[in-house]
Symmetry: C2
Subunit: 227 residues, 2 copies
DNA sequence: TACTATATACTTACACCGTAAGTAGATCAA
DNA sequence: TTGATCTACTTACGGTGTAAGTATATAGTA
C-alpha cells in the first residue's frame, strides 16, 4: 500500500498540493540510503518514494551532491559532542569517538561520505570545534591538537569503514575462516593461515574492538602531555 | 594522435588482430583510473583506449567488479612488505606502512577500494601475511596481532583517504583558511576559528603528518610488549 | 473576482552507464 | 578446405543525473 505523500494521481481535482520541502527530500533520502545503500539511492527512487517525479526535486536541492551533503549533515547531527572539560578530556574524547562510530554504523554509507567531502555545515563544524576545543583545553598546542584530531578521525573512519565493508558477520568468522583456509597456501602465507586457524578453532573470535586502537592513540596523547 | 592498439579500423584487411588480454585491459584501466579517477572509469572508456568495443572486454574479465579487483591487485603488489625480523619489528612496520601510504597516494582511488573489498588475491594475502608475521614474531599473541594489524590498517587507510579527498593543496592551506574564516562564526565555533587563524597567520602549517598517529600506535604496541 | 507573475511539479529528451544476447569475423585444428 | 571455437562487434535494454521546456498551482494585486 503506497502512501500518497503528494497526491497528484489520486483525486487530482480535489487535493491540495502538499509542497515538497528540502527537509522532506533529505529525510526520504536518508531512509532509502539506510535501507538500500548509497549506490541504490537515485533521484528517481527518492522522487518515487515521495510520490513525485525526479525533476521536481531540483526545485529544492541543487543537485545530487547537494542531497548527499544534506543527508550527511543529518547523520553528523546525531554525534554526541565531547564536552570541553580539561580534567576528563580523555574520557570525553573516547566517548565521543564511540558515539560517532556507533552513529556511522547505523548509517553504513556515511563513513565514506564523511571522509570524502569537506563541508561548512553547522553539525560538521560543531563536531570539529568540540574535538579541537577538548584537545586544546586539555593542554595541547593548536599544532598538536591538529595532529591529534587527525589521528583520532583516521581511527574512527578507518575502523568504521573496515567494519561496514566486512561482508562476513562476526558470528560467522569461524565458519568463514574454515571456508577460506583451503584456498590459502600455508607454504606461502604461514602466518595468515595460523591466524585463520585460531579463528577456525574458536580460539580467537577474530572480532576487532574499536577501543583497542583508540586507546593506543589516547594513551599516547596523554603521554605527550606528561612530557 | 591516437595509437591504434587494436587496428580494426585502419588497414583492416592487412593487419593481424592483436588479441586483448586481461593484463592489457587491467593496465589500461589502471592508467585511466590514475588519470581520471575511478568514477570516470567506464568499460566504454577502457575499451576505447584499447581501440576495441566495450563488450569485447567481457571475453577476458567477468564484469566491472572483476576489473576493479584486478587493478587493486596491481596496486597492492607495489607495497613494500615488512620483513619478518623480531628485533626491528617497529621500524619494519613503520616503513611498510609508509610504503603502503605512498603507493596509495600514487593511486588516489585505491585506498577506498582497499577498504571496500575482501580479496584472496596473492599480493593482498602477502601483505596481510607479512604484517601478521612481523607482529607475531615480535612477540604478540595472534589475538593481539589481529587487533594491532587492524589498528595499523585503520590508520593507513583512514589517513590516506582523508589526504586524497582533501580538495586543498597543502601549500594553499593558509590562503584557504583565510578564505573560510569569514564563513565561520567565531561565537559558535571558537576553537575551530582559533586553529584556522593559526593556519591563516602561518603559525601552523595545517599539514598532518602520517607518522604522528602511526607513532602513537606503534609506541603503544611496544608498551604492550613490555607488560 | 480576474489577471499576472512566480513557484513548482511534470514531461521529454539527452548523454552516459553496465551488460545481455545475438551477429560477424578471426583463428586453430583436423 | 571445412568446421569448431574463440573473440570482437552490434543492437538493445534498463538504469543514471539532469537540461530544457510545458503544465499546473499558488500568491499577490488591482
Amino acid at each position: 500500500m503506497t502512501t500518497a505523500k503528494h497526491p497528484q494521481s489520486n483525486d487530482k481535482k480535489k487535493a491540495k498540493r502538499i509542497p515538497l520541502t528540502k527537509a522532506g527530500i533529505l529525510n526520504a533520502s536518508l531512509k532509502l540510503a539506510d535501507e538500500q545503500g548509497l549506490e541504490q539511492l537515485s533521484m528517481r527512487k527518492v522522487a518515487q518514494s515521495l510520490g513525485v517525479e525526479a525533476m521536481s526535486l531540483y526545485n529544492h536541492i541543487k543537485n545530487k551532491d547537494d542531497l548527499l551533503d544534506g543527508i550527511l549533515e543529518l547523520v553528523v547531527s546525531e554525534f554526541e559532542l565531547p564536552p570541553i572539560d580539561q580534567s576528563s578530556w580523555k574520557k570525553s574524547l573516547r566517548q565521543a569517538a564511540i558515539s560517532a562510530h556507533q552513529v556511522l554504523l547505523k548509517h553504513p554509507w556515511a563513513a565514506h561520505q564523511m571522509i570524502s567531502r569537506v563541508s561548512v555545515n553547522p553539525a560538521r563544524l560543531a563536531w570539529s570545534n568540540a574535538t579541537i576545543g577538548c584537545l586544546h583545553e586539555a593542554g595541547f598546542s593548536y599544532e598538536i591538537t591538529d595532529h591529534a584530531w587527525n589521528a583520532i578521525d583516521n581511527h574512527i573512519y578507518g575502523f568504521t569503514l573496515q567494519s561496514v565493508n566486512m561482508p562476513i558477520d562476526p558470528e560467522e568468522f569461524s565458519d568463514a575462516a574454515k571456508h577460506y583456509l583451503p584456498m590459502i597456501s600455508e607454504e606461502q602465507f604461514p602466518y595468515l593461515c595460523a591466524m585463520a586457524n585460531k579463528v577456525a578453532e574458536g580460539k580467537h573470535s577474530g572480532i576487532n574492538e574499536f577501543e583497542f586502537g583508540l586507546n593506543l592513540i589516547l594513551d599516547g596523547l596523554e603521554r605527550l602531555l606528561e612530557d
